[in-house]
């Protein structure tokens, strides 16, 4: 059974049914819920059927699509994409439930767009063909544009246009790059193909890699968003309807980070290593900048949006640490962010629906009238802060551990984000939830109803599951991420004395590259001044990686 096609296109089928069958608005949402539930149920078999411990693509489907151009309908998942696919199908349900009573106008097109959006997102994660990937990548823009533009807040048009143009700009560069790749592949092999797995073997020179990397990286950086390409995000989030924000934060942003892991790292290893300082520094700036700006936001949604900039900075830093701890942390943090920030937007949406305001100053003392909501909100807040026991901690810890090995100062600076996260989240939480009720309108707010409980509970369960027992998630992504590191040609950071204690199995997964003694992580040298010794401990992974060059590719004319 073509499971991936089914997962990808079931929402589209649902959307068509909603569009063409005559029914009431209750029918629209009911059908949308049914569609997402069925899709999720189908996708669950990926989780149970997925074979861990291999980096090979699974559930592969391949059909010729435009044979003349070598474009194929090639789907497949590995440890990197499976969790994102599951996240998309899972948040799809949450999105519909979050819209249940919040969206009243034009429900037919609303739910249809929501489902089309899901098809686009899922397609992005399962595509193994550059062109197919691009089609899904672009297709997903249209429903998102309308969701923001029609069902958004006051400045919805501005936000929608900004979102659209920003992303379009990046996509066009990506389009050029992918065509260049296909053409290069054709020149080298005489075969026309957009198939990612075949393109992986294309030989590129350093110069070529840098240009192509830049094109792809920019497209992805805008989507992530990496500082300073982030200004579309707060506007889009603030104006988008709740479900739009959940999907936007939960899944859309991950398309960018996923793109780096799937395309940039394996396709352009040399350029990746060369770009580490730039991207790592932008990530660190994003972490701190996002947190600081989040702190002074008067609007809860905007605060959460800027916190996303900070969190996605962690993801990017983990990925570009180019070691297994960082990558696993970054990958896990993608899922974490989807769950936690999705939950945050959901909860913010719940009080918005009651009060029609998101300004922090309009709240205060909500705990008194909505104790159950307060508990949920607190748990999600703590998960966003990265409290141990919640999912956020595991991801953040691994990211920082990995970043610290890559470059101590990235690790140190990024770790300050942990302090700042507590500042902005707890300050917001205090102003919204604690104190006495100052506004009359807040005095008789209703606590969570059954539907809201059902919507938020799965997210809470995930928060604790991933925090307390993350092993199934880490196991799932492990082999594929190690493979990415092999593709990039990175050796694991060396630990003194580990050869006598550690197991050697992990080493065998890498092409181990001898490192200079100077770049080793040991800082036993006691002769130097403290600072100098600290500096010498820096591990310049890029030195190690740079020694591993791909065969120089043929230059294009």
């Amino acid at each position: 059974m073509p499971v991936l096609s089914l997962i990808t296109f079931l929402p589209l089928i649902g959307a068509l049914l909603i569009w063409f069958l005559p029914m009431s608005s209750k029918g629209h949402r009911g059908l949308a819920l049914l569609t997402t539930l069925v899709t999720f149920a189908v996708s669950l078999q990926l989780w149970f059927g997925f074979e861990r411990g291999t980096a090979d693509f699974q559930y592969v489907e391949k059909l010729a699509w435009i044979p003349d151009f070598g474009v194929s309908y090639h789907l497949g998942i590995d440890g990197i994409s499976i969790l994102l696919v599951l996240l998309s199908t899972f948040l799809g349900i949450i999105g519909v439930l979050a819209s249940w009573t919040a969206v009243e106008k034009r429900t037919k097109s609303y739910y249809a767009f929501l489902l089309v959006l899901q098809t686009g997102m899922t397609g992005v994660f399962v595509s193994l063909d550059l062109f197919l990937f691009y089609v899904f990548w672009e297709a997903m823009l249209i429903p998102m544009y309308f969701l923001i533009g029609i069902w958004g807040g006051e400045r919805r048009l501005y936000a929608a246009v900004k979102f659209f143009l920003y992303t379009m700009f990046g996509s066009l560069l990506m389009l050029v790059a992918l065509i260049y790749l296909a053409v290069t592949y054709y020149q080298q092999t005489g075969v026309m193909s957009f198939d990612l797995l075949e393109i992986y073997s294309v030989a590129l020179g350093r110069e070529q890699q840098l240009w192509l990397f830049a094109a792809y990286a920019l497209a992805f950086a805008i989507k992530v968003p990496l500082f300073p390409f982030h200004t579309w995000l707060p506007d889009a989030h603030v104006e988008a309807p709740t479900a739009g924000s959940i999907i936007l934060a939960g899944v859309l942003l991950k398309m960018g980070t996923y793109g780096y892991v799937r395309f940039c790292l394996p396709l352009f290893p040399e350029a990746t290593v060369a770009a580490v300082p730039v991207i790592a520094i932008l990530s660190v700036i994003g972490i701190i900048y996002g947190a600081l700006v989040a702190m002074v936001q008067p609007d809860i949604k905007k605060l959460v949006a800027y916190s996303s900039v900070s969190h996605l900075g962690f993801v990017m830093l983990g990925v570009f640490a180019l070691n297994i701890q960082g990558l696993q942390g970054g990958m896990l943090q993608m899922i974490n962010h989807g769950v936690s920030t999705g939950a945050l937007f959901l909860l913010v949406g719940m009080i918005y629906e009651r009060r029609h305001t998101r300004l922090i100053e309009n709240f205060g003392g909500i705990t008194k009238v909505m104790p159950a909501f307060a508990v949920c909100f607190l748990i999600v807040t703590l998960s966003s802060i990265g409290l141990p026991g919640t999912n956020g901690f595991v991801g953040e810890f691994l990211v920082l551990l990995g970043a610290f090995a890559a470059n101590k100062w990235y690790g140190v600076l990024a770790t300050t984000g942990v302090i700042l996260a507590a500042c902005y989240m707890l300050w917001m939480f205090q102003r919204v939830m604690f104190g006495v009720i100052k506004h009359k309108e807040n005095e008789d707010l209703k606590d969570l109803n059954l539907r809201e409980w059902i919507t938020v509970l799965p997210l809470l369960i995930l928060i604790f599951w991933m925090g307390i027992y993350p092993k199934p998630f880490l196991d799932t992504m492990d082999a594929s991420l190690k493979n990415v590191l092999v593709q990039v040609g990175q050796a694991p950071p060396q630990i003194p004395n580990m050869d006598t204690h550690g197991d050697h199995d992990d080493h065998s997964d890498y092409r181990v590259i001898p490192m200079d003694d100077d770049t080793n992580l040991v800082m036993i040298d006691s002769g130097k001044a403290p600072d100098a010794t600290l500096m010498s401990q820096e591990t310049e992974l890029k030195d190690a990686g740079a020694s591993n060059e791909n065969a120089p590719g043929e230059e294009m004319e």
Binding site: G389, G435, D478, M523, I524
Partner: protein, 668 residues
Amino acid sequence: MDLFWLIPFLPLIGFLINGIGIKWVPKQLAGLIACSVVGIAFAIAVGAFLELRSLPVADRSVTHVMFPWIMAGQFNVNVAFLWDQLSSVMVMIVTGVGFLIHVYSLGYMKNDPGFKRYFAYLNLFTFAMLLLVMGDNFLLLFVGWEGVGLCSYLLIGFWYQKDSATDAGKKAFIVNRIGDFGVLLGMFLVYWNTGSLTFVEVFERAPAVFIAGAALPTAITLLFFLGATGKSAQLPLYVWLPDAMEGPTPVSALIHAATMVTAGVYLFARASGLFAMAPDAMMVVAIVGALTAFMAATIGLVQNDIKRVLAYSTVSQLGYMFLAVGSGAYIAAIFHLMTHAFFKALLFLGSGSVIEACHHEQDMRKMGGLRKKMPITSTTFMIGSLALAGVPIFAGFFSKDEILYNTFTSGTLGAIGPVLWVIGALAALMTAFYITRAVAMTFYGEPKDKEIHDHAHESPSVMTVPLMILAVASTVGGFLGIPIFMKYNVMHNWLGPLIGGGGHGAHGGDHGAVTEHGTTHLAAGPSDHGGGHAEHNVTLEVILMGISVAIALFGIVWAWQNYVKHPKRAEAMGARFPGLYKLLDGKWFVDEFYNAVIVVPIVGFSKFLWTVVDSEFVDGLVNGTGKLMRGIGSALRPVQSGLTPNYATAILVGAIVIMGYVVLGGAR
């Protein structure tokens, strides 16, 4: 002992029942569950302790692995618990004192609408604290470390409608996070150098990886110490603890006196083998400890809120513990941790009893003369005060004396030792003074507020019985650590083989041979680098002890003269040194300083980032580009409107480009 791993889960179960069933569990049952889970945990702990004691010294370390937690490449951390000399002592303190405070809370919180929530939090705290002291690796310790921070946050802000309470809770959490920043970085350094975060493995590999006195162990130790200054309220991060008194008083007793705040001391005792390799850092620890002890004591002199006196006293006493740690006297630190848990919990609970009796009045200036109204509370409170002041036979005397002696003779501190001893002794003088002052203002003299006095009453037995038990512990607890020259010292015999740590520790090992068999230093030779003390000097110790006693008695008498015999003098004293009084009354203006130098600039800078950098600059560029594009677009295609057509055009252009490239590329 096979069941020792159950200990942390009992309070967790209590939390889950009371937390999830908060709507359904009846109030009485909720209290019963919360208390009994901690009580049972204590019983299991005592049983497991006795069993551990029956084992030969070399075998006194049992690990129970629950499940693998985080794995990434070679990084591998389990959820696993450690039962050894140190964790067993800590667990007994946490569950024992914790149980008494749970029971006391039944009375104290009886009429609070948040009764069930309170007990759920208290159980959750106990769980987190047990994780902290039982985790077999740094990361699990850190889970407990942040977990107790969370509970502290929740319990300080328990009365969430009070802004001052939620401010204090937030402040506690954030200040602690600054410390946690250090702990995280410390863990990174430990992991990337030893390849493990498990205590046993790290300490085993440390001697091969680290060079004693080199920059790396120093950096690690200082980073962990940063964490300790947060959690254990030392300079410069102590500022949250006095504010934490906003929480219910039993919480202050449990979290902000007896258990959580001692986590930093525990961490240093646990990793003494590692930290002892950084003598420079230990010097810093000792100096910070001594200064904290001194400075907090000065502030304690002038506080009028009974809980704030005790809060600053706690900061000050924690300073002593770090003074001990820095001197290499880890066992003395743990000993003081224990006696302090007894007498400070007693004092806090006693103050709670007073506050309850005075209808939640905490200002000592409105109390006075309560001795006759509250005989049990006042007697037990005075026992606690004597223990705190360091009067012989009471618990605090033995532990504080041991710390001061070790400071004076510490090999690592060298010439600084006696200087720190002087600072410590001065702090001891002030300690005796401020606690006597508190006793005098509360229980002696004339009633200041007639209405409060008339309503005052002794607390119910559910509150007074814990007070009496703690009073007994504060009296006899010190005999677990009688001075070394008396040949038999329970603390050293028990902890010595694990912690070593020079000073009395080294001797403790020797003395242990008298009663125990086969003592071995498990820790990686800390006595080589750490407090390699001079030959034990009994004469010196007796002299120093005499000075301590004299100081304590002098402080008590001085305060007694001023506050009981001649109350007018006290007021005059403040007036005689207006500048000094203002400085102390303003708590050295540290909060104001932090606010002006850190908080305000950061918020201002953030606003600048948002309104100028983000909105004007970055977004300006974006919008400018957008306008430019639109300008070009409209120039090229005057008949354009809407965006979907634009998009379609773009796609079309894209498709043409693709085909163009492919065709051209294919042609070559």
